[in-house]
């Protein structure tokens, strides 16, 4: 049973179309990347999946039931969403923040607070204020909160934005581990093509429509990148090839 399914979803605001005839599924344990140029509709797709937006037509299904039929608490027990702009200066200690994951009262949660903190590597930072952590640690604290929430699907909007290379790779490794060891699925939007190559599947969108979907090796081809980003690969700077090899080496 897919955890998330988009069935011919259409979303517009006013006369502007944001999402057109969108259809894809997310299966248990998958780490999936939503890619595409700015304004392609990645964030809108994640908000539709999270129930923050409602489709004009079509259906967003969570565990084979229409998303809008869930109460807030029921939905929170199944999925968690983190926007791109998180409040990194919220006046909470890490332990207080992570404890908020318990608000959904999910009886089938996968992690206790201590386990979630351990998994994201913040065991010794429980008493620290969120604002005193580094950018990577702050992201991981929020992810720990979503793990305590107990859903089987994490929706992350550009979690790698504003992180340096080390923190980006730490986060991808962490998400990979969550997926493979705990059967949780992660759908994240990202821009880095090389990091996209480390995921199970990539969904490429442009102008609100799906233009390609599948294994990164199939989707992230020169031709597809040229189509998605209106970019000729000869424009790319030379160091990118070496960077790609470096990422592959480290991730393996």
């Amino acid at each position: 049973m897919p955890l998330l399914e988009f069935r011919d979803v259409y979303f517009s605001f006013g006369k502007t179309e944001f999402i057109r005839e969108m259809g894809f599924t997310v299966e248990p344990g998958e780490l999936i990347g939503l890619m595409g140029p700015n304004g392609a509709g990645k964030s809108t797709l994640l908000k539709l999946a999270a129930g923050i937006l409602t489709p004009r037509s079509g259906q967003v299904m969570i565990e084979n039931r229409e998303a809008r039929s869930y109460s807030g608490k029921e939905r929170a027990q199944r999925l968690a969403y983190l926007p791109q702009m998180l409040d990194m200066h919220a006046p909470f200690r890490v332990g207080e923040l992570v404890r908020m994951g318990e608000y959904s009262y999910n009886q089938k949660h996968h992690f206790t607070i201590d386990e979630a903190l351990c998994l994201v590597g913040l065991t010794d930072k429980s008493a620290a204020f969120l604002a005193d952590l580094s950018g990577g640690e702050q992201r991981r604290a929020y992810i720990a909160m979503t793990l305590v929430q107990g859903g089987r699907l994490l929706l992350l909007d550009e979690p790698l934005a504003n992180l340096d290379l080390r923190y980006q790779m730490e986060l991808i490794r962490l998400l990979r581990r969550i997926c493979s060891e705990n059967g949780i699925s992660v759908l994240l939007s990202l821009h880095d093509i090389t990091l996209g190559g480390q995921l199970d599947r990539v969904i490429m969108v442009k102008n609100g429509g799906l233009i390609a979907e599948g294994h990164p090796a199939i989707v992230l081809t020169d031709e597809m990148i040229r189509i998605a980003y209106d970019l000729d690969l000869v424009d790319l700077p030379r160091p990118i090839a070496a960077y790609g090899q470096f990422i592959q080496h480290v991730m393996c």
Partner: protein, 324 residues
Amino acid sequence: MNSEKRQIAVNAALLLTFSLLVVAACLVCGQQLLNPFRLDAETFHTLLGLRLPRIVVALLMGGALGVSGAVLQGIFRSPLADPYILGISSGSSLAVSCGLLFGTSLFSLTAPTLAFCGAIATGALVVVLGRGWKGLQPERLLLAGIGIGFFLSATLMLVMTMSRDDGLKRAFLWMSGDLSMTDWDVVPLGLTFVLAGFALAIARRRGLNALTLGDEVAHSLGFNPSRERLLLFLAASLMTAASVSMGGVVGFIGLVVPHVVRRHVGSDAGIVLPLSVVAGGTLLCFADTVGRTVAAPLELPAGVVAAFIGAPYFIYLLNRKKNA
């Protein structure tokens, strides 16, 4: 219990003990120092008939303002939000001042009733104007409150310039937070609405914590941000209205008390809200006692004294945070 929780428990216990000592001191101190262990008829009357109602009203008012400030700072995600920035007190002041300035004879409960109605009507207007297509958004609500507050303040000034002299002084004292005219009569109505607002705020404490993280994260945690904001705004409005109706407008407590409490016990609303009641009530009680003691027989309004005491401490806290 880990060290973080232990520290919070110790700080909370210290605050409670300190508050009890301050309230006890407020009972015996005043224009005349009373000996509670030698109660004659006159002392008994002064304690129960004069000082105790003032202390109870000050505790209720200060507590209500402290919690309202904590709630509003959370739902607006702004450290500057307080009951007075949202126009609620302006509406209340306008209603009472109109009654005091133009009314020929006011019954003892007319002014509190006018204050309460003015505050609730203003709160409702702020909600109506602050509602956008995405529901109750903090920025829109805040701007609506500030705009209405300015308009009502300007109207109040206009009304005061047209008023008779005797009503003017009473209206001025009301707006300075003067507790000298309070008695037991205002307590039942005030207590009822303070308790109702506090119970609602405590019941929505998790929503308040979630809103502090932003609407989208609150939604992800299972809350309806607009609904939570509306309920919490209602709670803050009820408490502010009750406070103003009991003793007039007292500024600063709603702004400073939540910051002081959070500084010592963290930001979890389940802890901050009850302790804001204690700290806010204690501060106003202390301010009122100082106001009726230092320049006796002249009485300084409690709101003015609270600002004189609170502002330096607030600046000290800011500097300590900056240097940390």
